[in-house]
């Protein structure tokens, strides 16, 4: 009699253990789905979620989540491919444009030397002007395409921000004064040094200054903080929040733009981010502020 009682107890005990294990596995699977989902969203990965146990409902849930992850991933891939194709197209275009332009300029030069009437001369000057513009825009497009395909391991050397900023402002001085803009500059006494690509930095400042020349309504304030923050501020009426958000998008230009490809700020952003810095824009009280920040790299 006792034997059967003990056997029954044994069997029931075994059943309890089996159920406990099953519950444990279910909970583990639920945890894996939650953690896996968060992880997949945060990381750039192709992998999908896997779970412990073979419970049908848990697998259905994981499957549903995986399906969404799969779709998200496919869109990401489509974007990457599209982006790569666009970059390829831009590079090819910039190359293709140069050939006929070179011919045009060549023949224009020849025409210069020919005898011509005053009207012809006037027409030629205008053509020459426009073709110069075309050349500079093509150059900018070409530089942009080089930038896109360039690998971001340009040499980083210690660069004195004060110095580069001063040089860039000096270079743009004539253009600024021509438009009647007197820049107000504020820099700390001590040198602010960061590990950057000097040439790229000059280009960034040049583009921002060019931007100010084109769009400022008369003033320009340039500030360099010892924290590594640089601010370009100018009055620019007529802008709104949405435009400011898209300022750094490639090919974006505001209404009052003239003779611009819209690439200047996009190039600036690319370069700043490649050097490990950050760039942003804000618009308050009719004034546009562009912030650039380079972190101090430790070690």
């Amino acid at each position: 009699m006792m034997v059967w009682l003990w056997s029954l107890t044994g069997v029931l005990g075994l059943l309890v253990i089996v159920l406990l294990i099953k519950i444990h596995i279910l909970r583990k699977a639920a945890g894996e789905i939650a953690d896996g989902f968060a992880d997949r969203l945060a990381t750039d990965t192709n992998t999908l979620i896997g779970i412990s146990g073979r419970d049908r409902q848990m697998r259905r849930l994981a499957d549903a989540v995986n399906e969404q992850l799969r779709r998200l991933r496919a869109e990401h891939h489509r974007f990457c491919q599209g982006d790569a194709e666009l970059k390829g197209a831009v590079t090819n275009l910039s190359h293709d444009l140069r050939t006929p332009l070179t011919a045009i300029c060549g023949y224009l030069d020849l025409l210069e030397k020919e005898e011509k009437s005053d009207t012809t001369k006037r027409y030629l000057d205008i053509i020459r002007n426009r073709s110069q513009l075309l050349v500079s825009m093509t150059e900018e497009l070409f530089r942009y395409s080089v930038l896109l395909s360039r690998e971001s391991d340009a040499p980083a050397e210690p660069v004195v921000l004060n110095q580069v900023l001063e040089e860039s402002i000096a270079a743009a001085y004539t253009a600024l004064t021509q438009r009647g803009i007197t820049p107000r500059i504020r820099m700390p006494q001590e040198k602010v040094v960061r590990m950057l690509d000097g040439a790229a930095l000059s280009r960034v400042f040049a583009n921002l200054l060019q931007n100010a020349v084109k769009y400022s309504s008369g003033d320009l304030e340039i500030t360099l903080e010892s924290t590594g923050e640089i601010v370009f501020a100018n009055t620019a009426p007529g802008l709104d929040e949405i435009q400011v958000g898209r300022l750094f998008d490639r090919f974006f230009t505001v209404e009052s733009a003239r003779k611009s490809t819209g690439l200047g700020l996009a190039i600036a952003r690319s370069l700043v981010e490649q050097m490990g810095g950050s760039i942003s824009a804000e618009y308050t009280d009719d004034r546009l502020h562009i912030w650039i920040f380079f972190r101090e790299r430790g070690g």
């Binding site: 034997v3 059967w4 056997s7 412990s52």
Partner: protein, 275 residues
């Protein structure tokens, strides 16, 4: 580890050696009571159902030796163990999954014998005549024994990275267990006294008995008995013949073997270099 187990069981379902072993054990389980019944009918022997109920203990060792070495050895020969490690499977998880699958197969082999045996035997030969506690205890001991030999063969197969070598070692070991068991059993069965000579006086035959020098006594007997109890082959022989001297110690020894074999195998596997 559940994932590896799930994968292992998928493989198991398609494994010919597994199904072959099950069929073999089932056939044996059907054959035994049928033979007993036929013998009883033809020659008048009286069998009881428990006479053949525990015999499978002796076969489990060999079947598991073949299965474990082939099942685990394939992972090495085909290189598929790498698939588990490359995607991040932890060494201990891989080992334990294999150990669990082997143990489950061991239990399944036992069940494959027992269930057909009971189904065929109870109607043909009759019910148990020995106490139920003894039957349950012995069955439990044999089940634990099959898990113990599975863990030993798993250890060998996991550490030795070649299927054929592992198979040879496991099978030799399985037979080795049984041989050792038989030798020790014989030593222990030696009678206390033996007949030296007999004489007849007035038609009456008397014999002089002398103590048998081959008879084991005292500490010597204890040692030999303990070895016999620890040896899986020895356990199998004792259970098969319902002659266990220390029936409550046997499961403990099996448990110890499981822990030691699995522990050692796991430690060795963790540090090994895989091709």
């Amino acid at each position: 580890m559940t994932r590896l187990l799930s994968a292992g069981f998928l493989r198991l379902k398609k494994n010919k050696v597994f199904w072959g072993g099950l069929i073999l054990m089932a056939a044996w389980g059907i054959f035994m009571p049928v033979k007993m019944h036929l013998d009883a009918v033809q020659m008048g022997y009286v069998y009881r159902i428990e006479d053949g109920f525990f015999v499978y203990a002796m076969g489990v060792g060999v079947v598991m030796a073949v299965f474990c070495s082939l099942f685990i050895g394939t992972d090495y020969n085909d290189g598929t163990i790498r698939n588990k490690i490359i995607v991040g499977g932890k060494r201990s998880a891989v080992y334990l999954a294999n150990a669990v699958v082997s143990s489950v197969v061991g239990l399944a082999m036992c069940a494959a014998y027992l269930l057909p045996y009971l189904c065929v035997g109870l109607p043909l030969v009759g019910g148990f005549t020995v106490p139920v506690e003894m039957v349950l205890l012995t069955t439990f001991t044999i089940l634990l024994l099959s898990v113990a030999v599975s863990s030993v063969f798993t250890c060998i197969a996991m550490v030795c990275q070649y299927k054929s070598v592992a198979a040879v070692i496991c099978i030799l070991l399985a037979f080795g267990f049984l041989m050792t068991g038989m030798v020790l059993a014989q030593m222990l069965e030696a009678p206390k006294t033996q007949e030296v000579y007999s004489y007849a006086i007035n038609g009456e035959i008397s014999s002089v008995e002398e103590p048998n020098p081959g008879y084991l006594e005292g500490t010597k007997r204890e040692i030999v008995q303990t070895l016999h109890d620890i040896n899986p082959g020895g356990q199998a022989i004792q259970c098969a013949g319902m002659m266990a001297v220390n029936p409550y110690r046997l499961p403990v020894y099996s448990l110890a073997i499981i822990v030691l074999a699995t522990g050692a195998g796991c430690v060795l596997f963790r540090k090994s270099d895989l091709k």
